[in-house]
């Protein structure tokens, strides 16, 4: 089934066109007096040191792994939910229910592991 997404693209395009003047007006009218101090990155009044860098929070890495797994699964579940009324319940229900039940223990284990700070 082909879907026509033109209205969505039109909406996005119009927002883009409507925002452009907001960008252009300050570019033309606003004062422009840069000084080295003004352009320095904000570091609460300290002289900035080096480029921006940050630790990636390894403690939260399990959560990102969970996301990678569950995101795909949830979309598949949508496909099942929409076609639920078309399928016989005896065929699809045990499958999906079992699927979610199988999913739960690893989920719980990952959450438990994510709580253990000494691991990281």
């Amino acid at each position: 089934m082909a879907l026509d997404f033109t209205p969505v693209l039109l909406m996005a395009g119009f927002v883009f066109v409507a925002v452009l003047p907001l960008i252009l007006i300050p570019a033309i009218f606003a004062p422009r007096r840069p000084t080295p101090i003004k352009l320095a990155p904000f570091e609460c009044g300290q002289p900035p040191s080096g480029t921006a860098r940050v630790h990636l929070l390894m403690q939260y890495y399990p959560y990102l792994l969970l996301y990678v797994v569950l995101d795909v699964i949830s979309i598949f579940l949508f496909a099942w939910a929409v076609s639920f009324s078309l399928l016989p319940a005896q065929a699809s229900l045990p499958l999906v229910a079992g699927f979610i039940l199988v999913l739960l223990p690893p989920l719980g284990y990952t959450l438990l592991m994510a709580r253990r700070r000494e691991l990281w």
Partner: protein, 380 residues
Amino acid sequence: MAVTDIWQMIKRLAELSFWLLVPITLFGIPAYYALERPIIQPYVLPFLTRLMSELMDPASLTFKVILYPGFTFVVIYAAFLVLIERKLAAKVQLRVGPQYAGRYEGVLQSFADMFKALSKEVIVPAGADRLIFLSAPIISMVVAGTLLAVVPPSPQSLIFDSPVSLLLFFSVISFSPLVILLAAWSSNNKFTLVGGLRALHQLVSYEIPMVVSTLGLALLVGSLSLVDVVRVQERLGLPFLLLQPLAALTFYITMVAELERIPFDIPEADSEIVAGWVTEYSGVNHLLLYGGAPVIKLYAFSGLFTTLFLGGWLGPPPIPPDLWFHLKTFLVILSVQALRAIYPRYRIDQLLRIGWGTLLMLALINLALTILLMGAIQVV
């Protein structure tokens, strides 16, 4: 000070108009006559007249996109929502809030702020990735505005409906962590990077409970079209809030988290990391990232909540359906704004644990209950 500013502005205007006039007179006019006026007359005037006539017609797509359920309406609405939020927070904290712009209670404060932001210098910090830094506010606005195409105020004023509307909403929303990370990384500032990574963790974590919480609803409706969702609520005679209370609770909390609003405003925590991932943005970019896109998103999310759980445009007849929708949406928005005045902020590890532990479990329990319900219906 002010006088020199105005003088500078006039000088800049004169300079600009000069540089516009030179190429027009030197090349534009001769080219116009040499090419025997080929372009302008056959296309531009009919296009303009068609545009004007379509802007008069509430049923046309142009009207919908530009004026009523679309951008113009929502921007003006957003300006008043910002004002209402400021007044509400002020009243809770025993202040008066905006008071002077406009004749009564500072009603024009948002517009005054807009003009102030437009006249301010746009500072691009040294070492920033200029192109990405300046395009992030625009992309953020486009992402927020695209959501408006999906939210249906009523079947008459509806920009877009399809069997995959709900998924379309979620897929557009999943752009926002990307935009935030781009903005944070391109600023070359430590605070923005910290805020951007926090936002990444938060938005990514709360997407799953949100998606799963609407699964039960998709199961009941049998379609992802938002119009169908409201039609089914009409047929059942009760909103899904009563039929799926767990899903509504989960969706509401995840909605507040996806909007980065106060119990979950970890990415822009003012008291810890200056302004989070918006720290380096100034002037109009700050307006778009702080007062533009988030408020439009707030409207879109509240509209989606209204459609999914509160029955959308349904209501007793003397009030037109559009007004019902906006009344309900306004109440949802007000409840989200009231949270801001009364709650402190979560820590990021608490947030992640709530999202993956409690909320995901609630959503799965809701799904299981719905499956049981559907199974019972099919057996009977």
